[in-house]
């Protein structure tokens, strides 16, 4: 295989593969990217067997063929080259020679024989606008569980139904649900569990799409989910197992609610949380007589309290929360106002966008007993 490719084109496509290749893999070939030159394009593939990405860029192909090179080494080196064309030639022993201006480098590669085959994308089910998908991911990715043993919670539920796209994630302590209407074109009723790593890579991919209304083609087979934008294809293995029945735990109603300016509430929580226990991050919120009070204390370092005026004339209610959980939502919320719904110190609280015509975004947080 021998081809010439523009340096910045190569860097751009290679950077997408960096998040996918396994750093500490027990299978050495998975640290490599597969390079395939044919026609007038160079195709780059990376996979960790759970997640795969395939993208291509224009290239002048002298001899078509394929080979694999260490993803990280290739990226680290190519990035340092000047902005010009570079010439890559693979030899029989799988080594590649890269020539660029006066630079000449040889990198050890491995035969493509042992590189895993990625599944082929079936016909697209629908198209989802890139901006919409990015927004749904951004609103839910933070409440995915980090506990590996709870594998059905290690991703978000993606649900397409009746021209609605819903994404739900929960770690057992809180639950984020984001929903948007979109013409799906036809009667689609589909749901699958999308792993966190795939969501993070999708987010990167959508950010690189210049036109946010551009559609991402979406498809699924028995085991995989496929997302394609232009010349880039992301393939993720589905998480197996059943996502919890989230509709059962969504509170139907709350006794009380107050509305805050998002930035004010966020800033107050950030300050008060400085004196919350580092592990539990517990702060107390109190609603009483037109005031919401945030309080934290650490027996040996200090305590902090802030109050915010609110429209509230219900009974005094004090609820403990993990400050980090509240901040996660406030940082993801696009709207400027936020509603805080609650009942008592034992029941789930809920944050929602405030003001009029907010998007459907619900965030249910369980309290802490402090």
């Amino acid at each position: 295989m021998e081809f010439t490719v523009n340096k910045s084109d190569l860097v751009r496509e290679l950077s997408l593969s960096q998040g996918v290749v396994e750093r500490k893999t027990t299978i050495p070939i998975l640290s490599n990217v597969l390079l395939e030159a044919a026609g007038d394009r160079l195709t780059i593939t990376a996979t960790d067997l759970e997640l795969g990405i395939r993208c291509s860029t224009p290239a002048k192909v002298k001899h078509q063929g394929s080979g694999t090179l260490t993803a990280k080494k290739l990226m680290d080196y190519v990035r340092l080259l000047p902005e010009t064309d570079l010439h890559i030639k693979f030899s029989e022993n799988h080594w590649a020679t890269i020539v660029c201006g006066r630079s000449r480098t040889r990198i050890a590669g491995m035969s493509r024989e042992s590189y895993p085959e990625l599944p082929v994308m079936p016909g697209a089910l629908t198209r989802i606008p890139a901006g919409l998908l990015a927004s749904l991911i951004g609103k839910t990715i933070f409440s995915i569980s980090n506990e590996e043993s709870r594998f059905t919670l290690n991703g978000a539920l993606l649900q397409l139904r009746d021209d609605m796209i819903t994404m739900v994630s929960t770690d057992g302590h809180r639950l984020a649900l984001a929903e948007a209407s979109n013409s799906l074109g036809g009667a689609i009723n589909y749901k699958a569990l999308l792993p966190r790593k795939a969501m993070a890579e999708l987010l990167k991919m959508t950010q690189e799409v210049p036109d946010k209304s551009a559609g991402i083609e979406f498809a699924g087979d028995d085991n995989h989910l496929f997302f394609r934008v232009g010349d880039r294809l992301l393939i993720s293995r589905k998480l197996t197992g059943n996502f919890p029945d989230y509709e059962r735990v969504l509170p139907r109603s709350h006794a009380y609610y107050v509305e805050f300016e998002k930035e004010e509430l966020k800033a107050s929580i950030e300050r008060v949380a400085q004196f919350a226990d580092e592990r539990s991050r517990a702060i107390k919120t109190r609603f009483e007589g037109g005031e919401a009070t945030l309080h934290s204390s650490l027996s040996d370092s200090g305590e902090s309290e802030e109050s915010l005026p609110v429209e509230y004339d219900g009974p005094g209610v004090e609820i403990g929360f993990n400050a980090q959980y509240l901040l996660d939502f406030l940082r993801a919320l696009p709207e400027n106002k936020v509603q805080f719904h609650f009942k008592d110190s034992q029941s789930a609280g809920e944050l929602r966008p405030g003001g009029d015509g907010g998007s459907t975004y619900r965030y249910v947080v369980m309290p802490m007993r402090i």
């Binding site: 043993s149 929960t170 057992g172 735990v249 539990s280 993990n322 789930a348 369980m366 007993r369 402090i370």
Partner: protein
Amino acid sequence: MRTIFHVDMDAFFVSVEELFQPGLKGKAVVVGGQKDQRGVVSAASYEARKFGVHSAMPLRTASALCPHAIFLDGHPDRYRDYSHKVHHVLTQFSPLVEMASVDEAYMDLTGGERLHGPAMRAAHALHETMKRTTGLNCSIGIATSRMVAKVASDQAKPNGVLWVQAGSEARFLAPLEVRKIPGVGKVTEKRLREIGIRKVGDLAGLDEDFLARRFGQWGLALAGKARGTDAGAWFAGQVGDHQDQKSISHEHTFDVDTSDPALLESTLARLAEKVARRLREQGFFGRTIHLKLRYKDFSTYTRAHTLAEPTQLDQELIAEIRQLFRNTWKRGSAIRLLGASVSGMQEAEGQLNLLDGERKAKARKALTAADKIRDRFGEKMVKLASGMQGDFGERVHENPVGLPGKAPKQ
């Protein structure tokens, strides 16, 4: 200058047995199990000690040394009850009482002269009150530090009082074997002997720098101890300082090593159930679950897992520890001992769960009901089915009252 009492019950387990079975008095009695059983001696009467039997000795060795001794399994419930009684007597003399184990305690009587008179008189009053209230003998050491008080009570045994007056600590300690110093075990004793040190006096004569070079930090603590000051480990704290409870654990040594998965998992369930019961009893939630596993050849493994939320529920502990066990155990290998413990204790439940909240609330209600039955009718009345096969009698173990989380049941 502090006035510290160390109160040590004489042959505690044996003495408690004698209260219930006066016929045992004056006989060689060994508590801990039957003579042909595995396990170790928990306590021996003074008559049995004459034959060289001492606690922590394998039961079979004890029976070889003293074949005519009466071997008893013991009654942990009784010892706990009496430990509470002892604790109660002590609190009448000072609010600063720290039970160091089930049968010994430190008391701070500094400034108690106005109330109790001179230290010696207070000690005699305590001695008599103890005998009158509990029927048990104790030995009392009085000194300016916990360490010396402990050594003094040992020298006073049995049934005596010894007061080491301020300023005479070094003179009191000097003729004693280094082994008498708390914390000096076989290893340190051997290492000291290598450099010709046998008596505490020899040790006190050594240069501190030399000790620090040879034994590190421990060397400095040793130097302090040889002079009679509290130094090192928990001797550094004040009596009655509330330390946070670090962990709750239960262990079981099988009578016969076993590789039967059903028996092993059932035993583990029973151990976890006991740990959970104590968590609830003391009002704690534990966050980290530890498994201890000892094979036939004594190789020992410990594994731990930290939960997303602290718990005090049997089912959760059992599920976690079973997983640890399955990941650790080399299937088919015979196991000698299993242990379950929790650490990372907190007094509040902390983060509530959104998905399992209802299930947890139900489990909690069921366990609260079971605990009530146990409180009234005894621990054995309600058990999890999964732990039935692995059930075992409770072995005598040291379980001090008075420490946070180990207070007497109200």
